[in-house]
């Protein structure tokens, strides 16, 4: 609960209907899509304009409370969870597309615009917004900016940060700062790039300028069925090595195939297969058949049992169905699902998948893999029941071992879901004290009082103390995390 005086003040700024303090209504805001972390916010405020956000931030900060920015709450790292009675600033009402500038292929929008709605609005101009997280029909662009979200088609098109060209940001001190924008040659530090992926710790983006792309004229979708998952991994490597650049390459493993086929989402994948590989090419119609034929040959050469191809949009959606509905299907065979996220160099995929399977066996857990194979972004999903405390503990151990396995292979602890609350204690796996120290410093550049989304991204125990604000390297000491190579 927040003080009554603050409630009144927020109601004056945003309207009484847009300040939620009722315990039952706050329930919805207890967690994001990673439901393992639940904390009830002190209040939820739903401003509509940059000015309302600015005044809300000032009021909350004056009362000494922390702030958590929140989009649609579809995040998978606990990033939007309100710790210590923080006030959530939700962007649900900031859902206007302010401009679609077709000749310059850009759009300006408020953060609460839903990802898929931007593409729908741009479609009349023959344009679309490229980053396509799996939750794109629900997640907001503001949330995508906070997490630097990816998606299946990022293999060819790149992640959110490539498309964000300008931001209007409200900082913790109530100032409104414009970074980047317009002619994309802004001199100076890349503050837009730094802000994207800052997980709500630097401020709240209240206006976002993004680049749009022309809708590809044609699409070819293939589904390769494999008896061995290593073979599907080899097909991916061979396709990339041959210089083909598919828009997406996704692998669904045996346990996931069976989960899907046992569910209402059955997509017609053979249940005795150990991997299904979805490959998609897009671009001008001319040449797509040739690329699809080449990819098909690589699949067969790597040992595919069968390669299906879609002849129309309906068939295309059918081929994708097993991939898109994987999480939903898994949710039906176990009460809880831990969606993991890590990236490894593509060539290490076969070894990593084997290692993950061994870890699963050792802890007697079902691990089902669905992943963006083209860019080595894994999603090992652990199925469990949180009421079983022993199992819960095994999940935690297995999860940490999987992270370590990926890091040891030259990978990282998150490819697209963010660190949030869930992975902050894994940060020392990839960064040394100096890197973490620097990240604390950068956070303070934007938010000296640690008001914005505190308790996320960086582990508290690495926070430099006021008495020893910066760790001084000893002369001759070469510090840092394990070499990137």
């Amino acid at each position: 609960m927040i003080p009554g005086r603050l409630t009144k003040e927020l109601a004056r700024i945003c309207g009484r209907d847009h300040v939620i303090v009722d315990r039952d209504r706050l329930l919805v805001y207890e967690s994001d899509a990673l439901t393992a972390y639940r904390h009830r916010p002190g209040a939820v405020v739903l401003p509509r304009t940059t000015e309302e956000v600015r005044r809300t931030v000032q009021a909350v900060v004056r009362h000494g409370l922390p702030i958590v920015p929140r989009g649609a709450g579809t995040g998978l790292s606990g990033g939007a969870v309100a710790l210590n009675g923080a006030v959530v600033i939700g962007t649900a009402r900031m859902n206007r597309i302010l401009a679609i500038d077709a000749p310059n292929r850009r759009a300006v929008l408020q953060p609460g615009v839903i990802n898929a709605e931007l593409s729908a609005a741009a479609a009349v101009h023959g344009l679309y917004y490229a980053p396509d997280p799996s939750s794109q029909t629900a997640c907001t662009i503001g949330g995508n900016v906070a997490e630097n979200s990816g998606g299946p088609h990022c293999l060819k098109y790149g992640v959110t940060s490539r498309y964000v060209t300008g931001l209007t940001v409200v900082l913790a001190d109530g100032s409104v700062v414009k970074v980047g924008g317009h002619g994309r040659e802004a001199p100076g530090y890349d503050l837009v790039g730094l802000f994207v992926g800052s997980e709500g710790c630097f401020g709240i983006a209240t206006e976002i300028e993004v680049g749009l792309l022309p809708v590809p004229e044609g699409v070819r979708t293939l589904l390769g069925i494999f008896d061995r998952i290593e073979d599907s991994g080899r097909a991916v490597s061979d396709i990339i090595s041959a210089g083909l650049l598919p828009a997406a390459m996704e692998i669904i493993d045996g346990p996931t195939i069976r989960a899907v086929e046992d569910s209402v989402f059955a997509a017609g994948y053979p249940t005795d297969a150990e991997a299904a590989l979805v490959i998609e090419f897009d671009g001008l119609e001319a040449g797509l058949d040739h690329e699809a034929e080449r990819a098909t040959r690589f699949c067969f050469r790597a040992g595919a049992r069968e390669v299906r191809s879609a002849r129309d949009e309906e068939e295309r959606l059918a081929l994708w169905k097993g991939r898109k509905k994987a999480f939903g299907a898994m949710g039906r065979i176990a009460p809880d699902l831990l969606v993991q996220d890590a990236t490894v160099p593509r060539t290490t995929l076969p070894a990593i998948l084997k290692g993950i399977s061994e870890i699963g066996n050792r802890y007697n857990l079902i691990v089902a893999n669905v992943f963006h194979a083209g860019d080595g972004n894994l999603h090992p999903n652990i199925l469990f029941d949180r009421r079983d405390l022993d199992e819960l503990e095994r999940v935690e151990h297995a999860s940490k071992e999987i992270m370590q396995l990926c890091v040891d292979a030259g990978g990282t602890i998150t490819g697209e879901h963010g660190v949030g609350l869930d992975k902050k204690h894994h940060m020392p796996l990839i960064y040394g004290p100096d890197e973490l120290d620097t990240m604390w410093g950068i956070r303070r550049v934007f938010d000296p009082g640690a008001v914005m989304n505190p308790g996320k991204v960086l582990p508290e125990e690495t926070e430099p103390s006021p008495a020893n604000p910066r760790r001084e390297p000893a002369p001759g000491e070469l510090v840092g995390a394990p070499a990137p190579a």
Binding site: A102, P103, N104, R105, E147, N148, G158, V159, S161, R162, V177, H182, G183, R184, E185, A186, P187, G188, Y189, D190, L191, G193, L194, V196, G197, P214, S237, I240, S241, A242, G243, L244, L245, L284, G287, H290, V344, P345, T347, H372, G376, N377, G410, G411, T412, G415, H417, I430, Y431, D434, E435, I442, V445, L458, L478, V479, A481, P482, A483, P484
Partner: protein
């Protein structure tokens, strides 16, 4: 700038140099092979250059991963020779020199015309090792193509122009060399060329780059040439050519294929070389005609007797560049013209930045336009990495 450079042979040695300079209260000027344009004037004279040219080891290259990690001092030319046999490339085509180093390309952070197809320089830098101005060795990012672990310091360092740290090691994303590389040259008068560029930029054909070049630079008898680069599979490129010609209602004046096309663009990377003034005018692509007019006024004024000033534009990005050699022109009048061009470009919502200029012109015009409202933030960022200003001054 001709001062003898320090050339550390390891990251540890780079760090010793920084710590010693910090201790002594002296200044350093991070550099690669010192072939890159001075880029923004945020570097300054007076410091001792520290060249990373000896840090040129390839630490990791797995062709099937399409990633490479190397010392910052590796030349872009050598890098191309290493990855080329696997039909791979690093599509960095920022203005400069192919003899420039990977570290300098990242530090300068500018991008060339291939940005539309492959992303900006910063989109393809995966990880960095840097020695900060206060002598810390940081390893940020990684060598995988998707990575959102922690705040994106890699992007902060890309384009930081030696003001936060000395880049000692770089991991980048590589791309397959497209099977077909074709450049179509369409010539026309100034207005005609802009109109053609607009048609190409808003067409459904995925062109890799579209540049406007002065006709005489490429031997055309018309004032301007639009160079449209097509990259992809042979069928895709052929179809793209057919549609571009149909949309423009004309065949190209010349078409360059594969090796010819690559050489044409490689030569254009050095377009700014030797110029004493280079200005970049950024505007939205549909206002490129106004930016071109402003740039043309600068070129005409700079031309003086010698006639060596020229303009070029990246039509897809809305970026116009002016290049001039000054000896015969009147620098006061040129400064006035540049200041006018800046006012005009800013009125369009764009910006004018000098990437190269003699001190007297820079002093009159200013390297960048009206101070951004982010000055307080950038001051704090600079102080976080280089509290004693050992390195280059902060970016504006």
């Amino acid at each position: 700038m001709n001062k003898e450079a320090l050339t550390p042979e390891s990251t540890a040695e780079t760090r010793e140099i920084v710590l010693a300079a910090r201790e002594a209260g002296s200044r350093l000027l991070p550099a690669g092979r010192r072939t890159w344009p001075r880029a923004g004037g945020w570097t300054r004279d007076g410091g001792t250059p520290v060249s990373t040219s000896q840090l040129d080891t390839v630490h990791h290259y797995e062709p099937a991963d399409l990633t490479l990690t190397a010392g910052a001092g590796i030349g872009l030319d050598r890098l191309a020779r290493i990855v080329g046999p696997n039909r791979q490339w690093l599509p960095f085509d920022a203005p400069g020199s192919s003899a420039g180093t990977l570290g300098a390309a990242v530090a300068s952070g500018t991008s060339g015309p291939l940005r539309t197809r492959y992303g900006a320089t910063r989109d393809n830098v995966l990880g960095l090792e840097v020695v900060t101005g206060d002598g810390r060795t940081l390893r940020i990012g990684g060598r995988v193509v998707k990575n959102v672990a922690g705040y994106d310091l890699v992007r902060l360092f890309t384009g930081s122009r030696g003001s936060l740290g000395i880049i000692t090691r770089v991991s980048v994303r590589l791309f397959p060399i497209p099977e077909a590389d074709e450049t179509l040259l369409f010539s026309g008068g100034p207005a005609e060329a802009v109109s053609m560029a607009r048609t190409v930029c808003t067409s459904e054909v995925p062109v890799a780059a579209a540049e406007l070049v002065e006709g005489e630079e490429v031997g055309a008898d018309r004032a301007m040439v639009l160079a449209v680069r097509l990259l992809g599979g042979p069928r895709e490129v052929e179809e793209s050519r057919r549609r571009i010609c149909a949309a423009l209602g004309t065949d190209p004046w010349r078409a360059l294929h594969d090796g010819e096309s690559r050489r044409f663009h490689a030569a254009r990377i050095g377009w700014e070389e030797g110029a004493s003034v280079v200005a970049r005018l950024a505007a939205l692509p549909d206002r490129i005609d106004a930016a071109l007019a402003a740039a043309r006024a600068c070129a005409t004024r700079a031309n003086g007797a010698q006639g060596s000033a020229a303009i070029t534009a990246d039509a897809l990005q809305g970026l116009v560049r002016v290049r001039a050699s000054l000896p015969d022109s009147d620098s006061t009048r040129l400064a006035e013209t540049l200041a006018t061009a800046r006012r005009e470009t800013e009125a369009l919502g764009g910006s004018l930045t000098l990437s190269h200029a003699p001190p007297e012109v820079a002093a009159r015009v200013g390297w960048t336009g009206s101070g951004p409202e982010t000055a307080a933030l950038t001051d704090r960022i600079k102080a976080l990495f280089d509290p004693d200003s050992v390195l280059a001054p902060r970016c504006p």
